[in-house]
């Protein structure tokens, strides 16, 4: 419905296209232009909590890995606080909570290292199980897709999470839960994102 009130309209989204890397991750794509590329260090050296690695692929409707995706990570620290004025408190010096990764152009694998976030608080929604917010863009994706990654070793918290429980179709909830393994003593979470088709990942309108 057209509004008579004097609001501006949000700028429409467009796909990030095939060359998003030269703009947002030039160094990662092998193009050396900036002195400092943003998004490599999510938590900084002082972050408390368990160090983890997250890895996965983004898979399209034909079952093929998407090799030109760019993902952004937004998460709280181990105490459940976001590095933002409305984030609930203070975070460790150097903790940003935001990161950016691209896929390997040959395999479509991506990964990042971080700390496991704590449960986040309250507000209108209630306490939420530990999770990482993800936003992904690529050629063929017209509006960036928001999703969340939860942790397989947080089953009790996940069972009470208000967002997971809002997903009416219980069979879809596991698409948001990363599987924990250990490699050389480091916790590694596997999180494959399926854009379309069987076991399609849940995406959110945030």
């Amino acid at each position: 419905m057209p509004q008579e009130l004097q609001y501006l309209r949000e700028t429409a989204s467009q796909t990030a296209g095939p060359y998003v890397h030269i703009g947002l991750a030039p160094g990662a794509a092998g193009f050396d232009i900036y002195k400092q590329e943003l998004g490599h260090d999510i938590v900084g050296p002082n972050a408390k909590g368990e160090r983890i690695r997250v890895e996965g692929r983004v898979i399209d409707g034909t079952g093929s890995p998407v090799k030109d995706v760019l993902l952004e990570v937004w998460q709280a620290n181990a105490q459940g606080i976001y590095a933002h004025p409305e984030g609930g408190g203070e975070v460790e010096d150097g903790f940003r909570g935001w990161g950016r990764v691209i896929t390997d152009f040959e395999t479509g694998e991506w990964s990042f290292e971080t700390v496991k976030p704590g449960p986040t608080g309250g507000g209108n929604v209630g306490t939420q199980a530990p999770h990482i917010n993800l936003w992904l863009v690529a050629r063929g994706i017209n509006v960036g897709l928001n999703t969340r990654m939860y942790f397989s070793d947080e089953a009790a918290a996940n069972a009470k999470d208000p967002v997971l429980n809002m997903i009416e179709w219980e069979a879809r909830r596991p698409t948001l839960i990363a599987t924990r393994t250990e490699q050389d003593g480091l916790a590694v979470y596997r999180f494959d994102i399926r854009l379309q088709g069987e076991n399609e990942t849940v995406f959110f309108d945030v």
Partner: protein, 242 residues
Amino acid sequence: MKQNGDYYQRDRTLHPPALTPGYKTSVARSPQYALISLQNSVGEITGPVFGHNDIDPLDNDLLNNYASPGENPIGERIILHGRVLDENARPVPETLVEIWQANAGGRYRHKKDTYLAPIDPNFGGCGRTITDENGYYYFRTVKPGAYPWRNHVNNWRPAHIHVSVFGSAFNQRLISQCYFEGDPLIPICPIVQTIPDQDAIEQLTAKLDLNATIPLDTIAYKFDIVLRGRRSTLFENRLEGN
């Protein structure tokens, strides 16, 4: 006491839907299920904070950020400038704006781009800046060229600059493309035409801005960016209003 509340929900009728078959890559990369709508919580209303220490002050000058000393890229010298505002028309200060683009011949400095137009040795094609206290930003660059792409056999992208903006919350995150006034490729581009709303397309078109040109030096285009606005919440019992 007045507090900041939720962000206005995104008007999905002005954004492209996920599945837009004219843009062929979207066919296998579009979710089939409806998005699950979330009420805002702390993870949505917060987002990364960037400061001037994160970038170099000259990162917004694409005429010089990859050029050899004393040289410049070939092409039409332009200023791209404007404001980042929210839907309440309030400026969005201190937010990161990043751009990337092809050179004047339509060639990207990217190993996956094999178009036969040559690379410009003095042009990288990416820049970034942080808006000032009034939400204002500017870049200096060259106007990009149109380029062909494998969609239909004879599809050409209009001249465009990719734009990425953060705002102050992760749910304001936006990537779009800025087109140039008067370009006849705009109405026939399958990517532009993923947008169902003609006014929204018009809003993606930078306008020639003679007042901001530098005579005998650089021509200017104005491109304002609008991010989602936010309710203000009156009183602690959440009686809402603006």
